[in-house]
């Protein structure tokens, strides 16, 4: 029994991969496809046309008209014309007062442009965007944190719900009944903090179903989800990339990982699912943007709450999970 315990301990100690020197060939392959597709879409724009964008600032004096490039310029480019404060602070763009638009997604036509940030009045949508990005970034960290001998497939994350107290990513892990220790959770949190300190931009790309299948051909769960996602989104799959990590999400996301402030991965809980040959674990965490300052005690309360199992829907083999459609950009060109 003793020897078993020590073995178990030793196994646990080696669960994480602290320094990943080489990217796996799989990640390289995915990134190559992503980069090629991105440059192909950029070249497909052809002759550059100009569009005028009416920026609506917080005060009427700060309104501007910007002449930008159609299908090339992004809201982030517009924000950079307006100064560092605007470009660093903006979380997500609002086109024509109704469509949320990722900051690094090219604008297709003349429109009115507003920028939202964490302290803008009624920031419900911004909070949701932040929460979704947290799930996405946690997926990026989790997929790189474990050693190569532990097989791992990202499954999905439910629609972001700030009121549940934690953001969630469901992951298939080849570990029987793993209960993370406090130090292991601390390591995971630190990995996420380090990842976010790299100040990586979060890129956006709409791809066809085939390209998405090609990118996620090694992931059995994502390949199952892709047809349904594409059906609800004009046969397109929206991808996001932070660093080398690529994932499917409706978006929008935060423009850069440097928006993240306090981050804690609070708990990992094994779920009871009927998904064949897989142990699905629910990774839960809580985070705050850099610009919102909270004292340690209050943040501790949030951390304690994030340790409880998140009530979001548990993935099963029957239901194909995908995020809610509320954020599908339905911009008429």
């Amino acid at each position: 029994m003793n020897s078993l315990q020590t073995l178990n301990k030793r196994m646990r100690r080696t669960v994480f991969n602290y320094v990943k020197r080489h990217l796996s060939s799989e990640i390289e392959r995915q990134n190559e496809i992503f980069t090629n597709e991105k440059s192909r879409q950029r070249q497909a724009v052809g002759r550059i046309e100009k569009i005028s964008i009416n920026y609506e600032g917080p005060q009427p004096e700060s309104n501007e008209v910007l002449i930008m490039n159609k299908n090339i310029s992004t809201p982030f480019d517009c924000a950079r014309h307006l100064g560092d404060t605007v470009s660093n602070m903006s979380v997500v763009a609002l086109l024509n007062g109704e469509t949320l638009w990722h900051m690094h997604k090219p604008i297709p036509d003349t429109c009115k442009l507003q920028f939202l940030h964490y302290q803008s009045p009624n920031p419900v949508l911004v909070n949701k965007t932040f929460w979704r990005s947290c799930s996405f970034l946690m997926g990026a960290v989790v997929s790189q944190a474990f050693k190569d001998n532990i097989k791992l497939h990202l499954h999905s994350f439910p629609s972001p719900n700030v009121k549940s107290g934690s953001f969630v990513y469901d992951v298939q892990l080849e570990l029987e009944d793993w209960k993370p220790t406090a130090s292991e959770l601390k390591v995971l949190s630190l990995e996420m903090i380090k990842f976010c300190q790299k100040e990586l931009p979060i890129e956006h790309l709409d791809v066809s179903k085939d390209v998405a299948f090609e990118i996620f051909k090694e992931n059995p769960h994502k390949t199952k989800q892709i047809p349904d996602i594409a059906e609800n989104n004009d046969d397109k799959v929206t991808l996001f990339r932070a660093g080398t990590h690529i994932d499917i999400s409706k978006g929008p996301m935060i423009p850069n990982t440097n928006h993240m402030g306090r981050i804690t991965i609070a708990n990992v809980i094994k779920l009871n699912t009927d998904i064949p040959d897989g142990h699905i674990y629910r990774f839960q965490g809580v985070a705050l943007p850099r610009s919102l300052i909270l004292n340690h005690f209050a943040y501790g309360l949030l951390e304690d709450r994030a340790k409880l199992l998140n009530p979001a829907r548990i993935p099963g083999s029957q239901v194909v999970d995908n995020e809610d459609n509320s954020f599908v950009a339905s911009m008429t060109a």
Partner: protein, 219 residues
């Protein structure tokens, strides 16, 4: 052991009093006080001023002392009035001190002024800048208010955490109450049963007594 702490019995300023600075002055120490008088007057007049940090820090202590004396002794106290007359160059501000600021600060438990670091203009002078203001002034706040807007992310999270905690507590209380009710029910049943037994016992004892008395009478 049980003696009162002497320093609690004395009036004390609510800002930390540091060693006073020697402002370099060709006109001597009196001119130093004249400079501070100008600043204190400006503070009482405008309620928010921006200036170099050392002078703000220094004049803050004098302003605090002036206001606390005005609250403590009122406007019929001779030496307080003299001090107000000395520190406030513009004499109409003496009225403001006693009629506006004293009512405002009467029930304060914190300092009456607030000192904030201000950004240093670059390129420009190397001196640190500060903003000195009276609390409760009518201007918009200089520091961000993270508390009152409950739709901010951390406030949403905190409110939900509070709600979850409360619902848990209510559940606990409800569980306790039901447990108590059960216990009480059992106890009352027991008590009733005991009472019945006692009543029966007394009845029987009475009967026996009666029987005995009857026997006595017969004999």
């Amino acid at each position: 052991m049980n003696q009162a702490e002497v320093n609690k019995l004395m009036s004390q300023l609510r800002v930390s009093v540091k060693r006073l600075r020697k402002f370099r002055n060709p006109l001597g120490p009196e001119e130093r006080l004249n400079k501070l008088r100008k600043t204190v007057t400006a503070l009482i007049k405008h309620e928010r001023i921006e200036l170099n940090y050392p002078r703000a820090d220094e004049s803050r202590m004098y302003a605090e002392r002036l206001i606390s004396d005005a609250i403590r002794y009122g406007d019929c106290h001779k030496s307080t009035m003299e001090m107000a007359d000395y520190w406030l160059i513009e004499k109409q501000l003496i009225h403001k001190l006693f009629k506006v600021l004293v009512p405002r600060y009467e029930n304060y438990t914190i300092s009456y002024t607030r000192l904030l670091n201000a950004p240093r203009p670059y390129p420009g002078e190397k001196h640190c800048k500060a903003v000195l203001e009276l609390r409760g002034n009518p201007y918009p706040s200089l520091v961000k208010d993270f508390h009152s807007d409950r739709s901010l992310l951390h406030n949403v999270l905190l409110d939900e955490a509070r709600r979850a905690y409360r619902s848990e507590k209510y559940k606990e209380i409800a569980a306790k109450v039901t447990a108590n009710l059960k216990d009480n029910g059992d106890k009352t049943r027991q008590v009733e049963a005991n009472a019945n037994d006692e009543a029966k016992a007394t009845l029987t004892s009475d009967k026996t007594k009666k029987v005995e008395s009857n026997e006595e009478t017969t004999t």
